[in-house]
């Protein structure tokens, strides 16, 4: 491939040292993601999926190994440069939603724009809220929402600054399959616009949207394969029903 990979991980290891216990979470992860890919990361609970996502999403640093983003070594970047990338290029949907308490849906979704240099107006906030079907709740406080609604706010927030990559850590975990499918439809269309999507999921129906599936067990990549086009086609049929 002539183009540099968007993300290249070389021998990434991650361990957490708490007082005396050292927990090893990721072992020698080697991975390349190209621009425009739609990847699903799957694996049992505790296998290190979220940790890998945080590292790729510039939220955490690996203990060892190198991370190249667009060909740049990210260990050479300053904190502020990383903050800039998180704001301008990345949309992160947290597994735990991470909404601001006592703050309206609208203000939660608008939060990334506060720190953005992009000239994105407030109409983008409404658009993002509409796209997750929460417009009627936009003035509610985040703590007054149901789990599924919170999840949708988190998704809207990840979209608002028009990122190039979206990291979605179990974005449909709290949704019924109908709303889950709606969310997958959004991600799918973003991918069709050329955005890179990295998704963590347990559910098969969501994974089926991806064109590549990476399986992690105990912090190691055990499988990494492209999905046949058939599946994709079948899914598109499903959605248009």
């Amino acid at each position: 491939m002539a183009e540099k990979p968007l993300i290249k991980l070389i021998n990434i290891c991650k361990e957490y040292a708490n007082e005396e216990v050292v927990t090893k979470v990721l072992f020698d992860i080697n991975l390349e993601l190209q621009k425009g890919e739609f990847v699903a990361i799957m694996g049992p609970s505790g296998s290190g999926k979220s940790t890998l996502m945080h590292i790729m999403g510039f939220l955490e640093k690996p203990t060892s190994g190198e991370y190249y983003y667009k060909g740049k070594k990210i260990s050479d970047l300053t904190e502020d440069e990383l903050a800039g990338i998180r704001n301008q290029e990345v949309g992160f949907i947290f597994q735990a939603f991470n909404l601001l308490q006592r703050t309206s849906v609208y203000d939660n979704v608008r939060l990334p724009l506060v720190y953005s240099d992009k000239n994105i107006g407030d109409e983008a906030v409404e658009k993002a809220i509409k796209s997750v079907g929460l417009y009627h709740r936009k003035d509610n406080l985040s703590n007054q929402l149901s789990g599924g609604e919170k999840q949708r706010v988190a998704i809207a927030r990840s979209l608002v600054n028009q990122p190039e990559i979206i990291f979605a850590d179990e974005p449909t975990g709290n949704l019924d399959s109908k709303s889950g499918k709606q969310i997958m439809e959004i991600l799918q269309s973003l991918n069709e616009e050329g955005k890179t999507i990295v998704l963590v999921t347990h559910e098969k129906y969501t994974a089926e949207h991806a064109r590549r599936i990476i399986k992690i067990i105990d912090g190691k990549i055990v499988d990494d394969f492209k999905v046949k086009h058939q599946l994709l086609a079948k899914n598109e049929n499903d959605l248009t029903k």
């Binding site: 904190e79 502020d80 800039g84 998180r86 301008q88 992160f92 991470n98 006592r102 939060l111 506060v114």
Partner: protein, 418 residues
């Protein structure tokens, strides 16, 4: 520049609004701190003026000779207490005053005693301070006659039973009635009123307007039954030489009292100059003391702000983590928290200044109208600026540390603190 300020201002206001109670309590802390500083500083100024007024009611160019218990310091408890307990020093005589008057720098003097008696006119009675002074008092003292005349030297020598009323006591005994040539009773004797003094303004606790002036000799012979004096007020020609003149007078006094050991002095000489200098040291000490109190209250206020800022940072670790995760830079977080501290201190400053000025006014109002003290209300811009400046500085310094801590948190570490 303005845009970032506006952004920070909005962020900080939103955050404060989300934590209204805490914000209000912090503002309150700053308010009280600043109010205390203003009250303390204005009270200090008022106390200074109060004391100075007390001193200058007798004018600013005099040399006083006063009796003193030997072997004690003039201002000591032993002296004041000794005199109060009736250790009577009977050695100060009018002949001493005549000796002092021979000094080339002394123009004139008045001498006298004080006493307390019930003064009455018709049905009205009042325990009154009697000031038995020489007729020359009216030429030397800044006080002036408003009605009638002061008594004369001839009247004094002739033991005339005449009295001059202070403006306050005239009001008390006579109201609107003309007192001149009326007879008032002082103790068991009748005195004829010959004059009323002009109002002098109350100088502190002791008002010269509530005094009755009697000829010194009359008071000595007819009321006290003594022939000695309590004080001599001498007036120098050249006040700038007062210090030297006071030393000369000390020597004159020692010679006429046959004293060789200065510790056995039964008198004390003090010039108005020295008194004012002494006053300066006293007010200086008061100022330093008040300043220390003000500083401590500011310090306490500052620690309060720091505490609240610190709690607010640790309580909001998650929020900080989230903001950083969504792209907030170090400076964004730092500025947000600093702006919060500034908003709080500015509100506290405005309210504190309002509260402090109102309290100072109230204190002065109560002191003047209910206690009759000459307690001036001061609205000093310097003090207000000082209090506001210090509070903003305290707020910034107090806010800086937690703000920096917040800004350098790792996003994921902070997010896990939920």
């Amino acid at each position: 520049m303005f845009k970032t300020f506006k952004k920070n201002f909005n962020l900080a206001s939103e955050a404060l609004w989300r934590h209204k109670l805490r914000a209000v309590l912090t503002v309150l802390g700053v308010t009280v701190g600043i109010a205390v500083v203003i009250v303390v500083l204005s009270a200090g100024q008022a106390i200074k003026d109060f004391i100075t007024g007390q001193m200058t009611v007798f004018g600013t160019d005099w040399i006083e000779v006063e009796i003193k218990v030997p072997s004690t310091a003039h201002t000591s408890i032993e002296n004041v207490g000794g005199l109060a307990q009736g250790i009577s020093i009977t050695t100060l005589k009018i002949s001493d005053a005549e000796e002092i008057k021979k000094h080339p720098n002394i123009r004139d003097y008045y001498a006298g005693n004080v006493a307390q008696e019930v003064a009455s006119y018709k049905e009205k009675n009042k325990i009154t301070m009697l000031f038995g002074v020489s007729a020359s008092f009216i030429d030397i003292d800044p006080g002036e006659i408003m009605q009638g005349r002061f008594y004369t030297e001839a009247e004094e020598k002739g033991l005339a039973k005449v009295a001059v009323l202070g403006s306050g006591i005239k009001e008390t005994l006579f109201g609107d009635e003309d007192p001149i040539n009326k007879s008032i009773r002082i103790g068991r004797q009748n005195f004829r009123v010959v004059g009323v003094m002009a109002e002098k303004g109350s100088a502190g606790f002791f008002s010269m307007d509530d005094v009755i002036f009697l000829p010194n000799v009359t008071m000595q012979k007819l009321i006290l039954g003594i022939d000695h004096l309590t004080f001599i007020f001498a007036q120098p020609y050249d006040n700038s030489l007062a210090r030297q003149t006071a030393e000369d007078i000390t020597l004159i006094m020692r010679e006429s009292h046959d004293i060789t050991d200065p510790t056995k002095d039964d008198f004390i000489v003090m010039s108005s100059q020295e008194a004012l200098e002494l006053l300066d040291t006293v007010t200086g000490v008061i100022t330093i003391l008040l300043f220390a109190i003000a500083l401590i209250s500011l310090l306490v206020g500052g620690i309060g702000i720091m505490n609240v800022m610190y709690v607010s940072v640790s309580e909001r670790t998650f929020e900080i983590g989230l903001r950083k995760a969504l792209g907030a830079k170090y400076s964004d977080i730092l500025n947000q928290f600093l702006t919060e501290a500034i908003i709080i201190t500015i509100w506290g400053g405005v309210l504190g200044i309002a509260l402090g000025v109102s309290l100072s006014f109230l204190i002065s109002y109560v002191a003047i109208n209910y206690y009759g003290f000459n307690w001036q209300f001061y609205l000093s811009l310097t003090y207000i600026a000082l209090a506001a400046g210090m509070s903003i500085a305290a707020g910034l310094i107090a806010g800086l540390y937690p703000a920096r801590q917040a800004a350098s948190l790792d996003p994921m570490v902070a997010l896990r603190k939920e």
